[in-house]
Amino acid sequence: MPDEAQRARRALTVSNRIASKLRGLSDTAIAWIFIGPTILLLLAINIFPLLWTIYLSFTNYRANQPGRPVRWIGTRNYERLLGSEDIWGYLQATAHFVIWTMIFQIVIGFGLALLINRNFRGASFWTTIILIPMMLSPAVVGTFWTYIYQPQTGIFSYIVDFFAGTGALDMIGSVALAPWSIIIVDTWMWTPYIMLLCLAGLRSIPDYLYEAAEIDRANALQRFWYITLPRVLPFLMLAVLFRGIENFKMFDLVVELTSGGPGSTTELASINLKREAFEKWRTGYSSAFAIILFVTIFGLGNIYVKVLNKVKS
């Protein structure tokens, strides 16, 4: 074995040497040629805009008035943002949305994964059915859920009324229900994603672990606690990381469903951001808000990844 590996490595270095002789390029030069375009692209569409946004966040720039002189106003945008009651409201709405969607999606997604993993007849058929919402466009999903949510003609209100006798429910129009209306749709759409990753985790558990537990007379709860959960947790946490970041930036579904209303009950951070930037054209101010959101996600994400690595090891 080590012999073989050595021979392969030697063959590789030989072919490397030949390749570099032919083109007269060092390995480093070739490496740069390969990654150069990607780095340029990254600089052009990621790094530069980020730096430019940071610059704008310290100015009074308005994108709809290109002729107006741009004035450096220091941290005034930030001071106004952090002092504003409204901003905290938008962030709270966002946190409410992210936390509840994650809770529902973890519980339902993990549950579905456990069911599907039993490999009953037709399991793969049902998997495909369950995955459909995830594959639809958010614009389409948002639009048809507005029909489903119709208080008089929609099926949602009808079903809830049928079982709970609540009368007609105006999910989108009522201040109390609107935040839940977007949570329900997001859960409907993205639970399959969490389920899929949980299923990958479950499938990675070898049978003999459960067999050993069976011989040790472990009960169902112990099997779950000692085997299933530790093995699935890294997958689950990864799914939550992806979905959490996505939902922190949630925009499309909510625009289609409630457009932030009624009032500003479902005005999530990114929806407010779009309003400030492209309806009120307060470019400098919204740049500062964007930077605050970026730092928040980045910070939370980093903490989360640290925890994730700890769980994995």
Partner: protein, 342 residues
């Protein structure tokens, strides 16, 4: 009292017959080793005893009770898996204590701590009790999984190649330790291996499996000296027994229906004063012993050289065969007689 019994057990997986009409009985306190090459059905046999597989037909008894239809938990057996099957993300202590915390077997915390400590010391993992099992080396994991079986006092221990991933030194130590533990606990063990040395040293009896069938079950000595078939003869002894057509090499004094003769490498004397002309083809020094591949009359034989004889490839010599130890087989490769018993 019988520790465990299989009666005419069949087990197939689709087209594959894993176990075919297998009957065997392990006495209480006996150490039975199942020996066979890969795919012989060793693991399947253990799984049938454990209840992880249910037989297509036949009966399974553990501690004199018919358990054919009972689930593993009801059989009170311990299983050491071929792969270490430990609970990930838990410490060595948690893994060892787990079987003692199972429902119906609950011990108080103090006795659990004591028992786990004893076993860990015995397997020399006492200093690792607080480590996570994912941080252990392969050998340590294997010892934890052996320990997880030993903390309990089940009716029957089932061990599937438990020493295969350990280094030679540790394997030897644990072999001795395991034998001692088995005597101390008066434990009934069915142990699977394809290592003939392990089989010879550990077993009270060896069962030799060939493609799902039990070819022979005997004490190591009998199995070595009177192998039931050519196949069984080839399973024990290293290097393998030489199988020669009867009549060649002057092997004529066997029973009249003998078709082939088995000669153990240690029964060939090289550098003899008289005997067949032979050429040394290759020599293998193994430290404590030297093995020569010899060609005589177009037949190749392995011989175990006496200490003090040094030979080189290409050298010519004479060999003598101790035909009084020859083992005779008929045309169906079945044992007819052997020198050892006259």
């Amino acid at each position: 009292m019988a520790g465990a019994v299989l009666e005419n057990v069949f087990k197939t997986f689709g087209e594959t017959v894993a176990v075919e009409n297998l009957s065997l009985s392990v006495d209480h306190g006996e150490f039975l080793v199942l020996l066979g090459p890969t795919g012989a059905g060793k693991t399947t046999t253990l799984r049938l005893l454990a209840g992880l597989e249910l037989p297509d037909s036949g009966k399974v008894l553990v501690a004199d009770a018919d358990v054919t239809a009972l689930p593993p938990a009801a059989r009170d057996v311990a299983f050491v898996f071929q792969q270490y099957s430990l609970y990930p993300h838990y410490t060595v202590f948690e893994n060892l204590a787990f079987p003692l915390r199972a429902p119906g077997r609950r011990l108080d915390a103090e006795s659990i701590r004591k028992r786990v400590g004893e076993i860990a010391e015995m397997l020399r993992i006492g200093h690792k009790l607080n480590d996570k099992v994912t941080q252990l080396s392969g050998g340590e994991m294997q010892r934890v999984s052996i320990g997880r079986a030993l903390v309990r006092k089940p009716n029957l221990f089932l061990m599937d190649e438990p020493l295969s991933s350990l280094d030679a030194k540790l394997r030897e130590d644990l072999r001795v330790e395991l034998k001692r533990i088995q005597r101390d606990l008066d434990a009934t063990i069915v142990y699977v291996t394809h290592d003939q040395l392990e089989a010879m040293t550990l077993a009270d009896r060896i069962g030799i499996l060939q493609e799902g069938r039990l070819v022979q079950i005997d004490t190591p000595r009998v199995a070595y000296e009177r192998p039931a078939t050519v196949y069984a003869a080839q399973r024990l002894g290293s290097p393998q027994i030489n199988i020669v057509d009867t009549g060649k090499l002057g092997l004529e004094d066997g029973p009249p229906n003998a078709a082939t003769t088995g000669i153990r490498p240690e029964d060939i004397t090289v550098d003899a004063d008289q005997g067949e002309e032979a050429e040394i083809v290759a020599v293998e020094h193994r430290g404590d012993e030297t093995i020569a591949l010899i060609e005589v009359d177009g037949i190749r034989l392995h011989a175990l050289l006496d200490a003090g004889i040094s030979m080189e490839a290409g050298q010519r010599t004479r060999i003598a065969i101790r035909s009084e130890y020859a083992i005779w087989f008929d045309s169906q490769s079945r044992l007819i007689g052997s020198g050892a018993t006259g």
